[in-house]
């Protein structure tokens, strides 16, 4: 049995964030499907991994963790010498990578998640998209991506010259948004567009998509 276990469904953006990091690091792990419809994530034993009743839950041996961005950080630290090296510089660069990781969490994700829900998930569930919410959040996302455009004109990836968690954390939401009308926001900004092409082309990300297909 693998020491590393991820609990959730691969369609979840937060779960996919962890999966892509594990694939980048070339780590063996077991995927434990959680029956969301049955509310398995709101009951024990899942709650003893994540008391907030949200996926993913994560285990590495005896260690239990929740919050996807804490999990990816742990994986990057613990398995620093394996797979993709998420760094290209000294401690000052590490601090800059830290800044852009927070930017994804607090500037990009709140807005992108709302759009992903309205434009990508609601149609799948036969729910009506709220066009007012879409309009409001497309405008907000445009402003965030303007900042990204300036940043990526100076730096190949958000944190530094190589790919790091700051970039990878964006993949799950960007993947969904590229399949919706929001795609235009990324396409219309040349540096953002090139960066999106680079991160979505990662073999590790293709493995996440393959797992999504496999798990149905």
């Amino acid at each position: 049995m693998a020491a590393i276990r991820v609990h959730g469904t691969p369609y979840s953006t937060a779960v996919a964030r962890v999966l892509t990091t594990l694939y980048e690091k070339e780590l063996e792990f077991e995927f434990v499907a959680i029956d969301m419809k049955a509310g398995e994530h709101k009951k024990e034993p899942f709650l003893s991994i994540n008391p907030f009743g949200q996926i993913p839950g994560f285990e590495d041996g005896d260690l239990k963790l929740f919050e996807s961005r804490a999990i990816t950080k742990y994986i990057a630290q613990e398995y620093a010498d394996k797979g993709t090296q998420f760094k290209c510089g000294d401690s000052k660069t590490a601090a800059i990578i830290g800044v852009w990781t927070e930017v994804e969490a607090h500037q990009f994700d709140p807005v992108a998640s709302k759009l992903t829900w309205e434009l990508a998930f609601k149609p799948r569930y036969g729910l009506a998209t709220d066009t007012a919410i879409v309009e409001e959040n497309e405008a907000k996302l445009a402003k965030v991506l303007d900042v990204y455009e300036s940043r990526l004109a100076q730096s190949k990836y958000l944190g530094c010259g190589c790919i790091t968690l700051a970039d990878l954390h964006h993949l799950p939401n960007i993947h969904y948004l590229l399949g919706t009308q929001a795609k235009k926001l990324f396409d219309s900004r040349p540096h953002v567009s090139a960066w999106v092409d680079a991160i979505t082309a990662r073999p590790a990300w293709s493995k996440v998509l393959a797992l999504q297909k496999q798990q149905g």
């Binding site: 999990i71 401690s91 930017v103 500037q107």
Partner: protein, 219 residues
């Protein structure tokens, strides 16, 4: 010689005060540079050079310019490991993973509803902005659920990430201070046995008292 560490923004900003609390815990000298929010100084091109999203805080240390309060706090802990509270960001990888987990919980689950409430209840009245009762009620319900989870956790451990005060607890100080003292929502915290005990402990720390003092003096 002036310290190279500079924090840009007023102490009354929750995100700025998060950074100040961290600097004080770590005994790192700093200079607080005023930014006139009411005049929109933070939205102007000059300020956007150091914070492209037009928000406070911005931060400088020798040869480095940062933003996002939680990233700044992590940087301070990593750069000044041996100063002040050495365990603030954990002294081993397992402790750090737990702190990061609860820091993310703060950022993703606690901060969104509590920030809305801080704005609606503490700032909107001063800014003569009309309060939205529907929004207040929705976010009280969300925050209440989060505090229910905290109540259980804080019955198992003394602080959120374990038995030592950490960056994860510190990150909660700014919003909670406003909710408990200014917004008439103190009961959400103090009526819960474990959360109440935890709030008392973390808000009594000398470092936090200094921040509150700075806020009261209009720094």
């Amino acid at each position: 010689m002036a310290t190279p560490v500079k924090v840009y923004g007023p102490a009354m900003s929750t995100a700025v005060s998060r950074v100040l609390a961290c600097l004080l815990e770590k005994n790192v000298d700093f200079q607080l540079v005023p930014v006139h929010l009411a005049k929109g100084e933070h939205k102007k091109p000059d300020f956007r050079k150091i914070q492209p999203f037009g928000q406070v805080p911005a931060f400088e240390d020798e040869g480095i310019s940062l933003f996002e309060s939680r990233a700044i706090c992590r940087y301070i802990c990593e750069k000044y490991t041996d100063k002040g509270n050495k365990g603030l960001y954990g002294t081993n990888p397992v402790a750090r993973a737990s702190i990061d987990q609860w820091l993310e919980a703060e950022g993703q689950s606690f901060n969104p509803p509590s920030s809305v409430l801080v704005f609606q209840l503490a700032f909107a009245p001063r800014m003569k902005v009309k309060q939205d009762q529907v929004v207040i009620k929705q976010n009280e319900e969300k925050l209440s659920k989060v505090l229910g989870i905290y109540e259980k956790r804080l019955g198992e451990t003394r602080f959120l990430a374990g038995d030592e005060f950490s960056l994860a607890d510190l990150s909660h100080l700014p919003n909670t201070q406003y909710l408990v003292t200014t917004s008439g929502r103190g009961e959400m915290f103090t009526s819960k046995k474990n959360v109440g005990r935890w709030w008392n402990e973390i808000s009594s720390r000398q470092s936090w008292k200094k921040v509150v003092d700075m806020q009261n003096k209009g720094a």
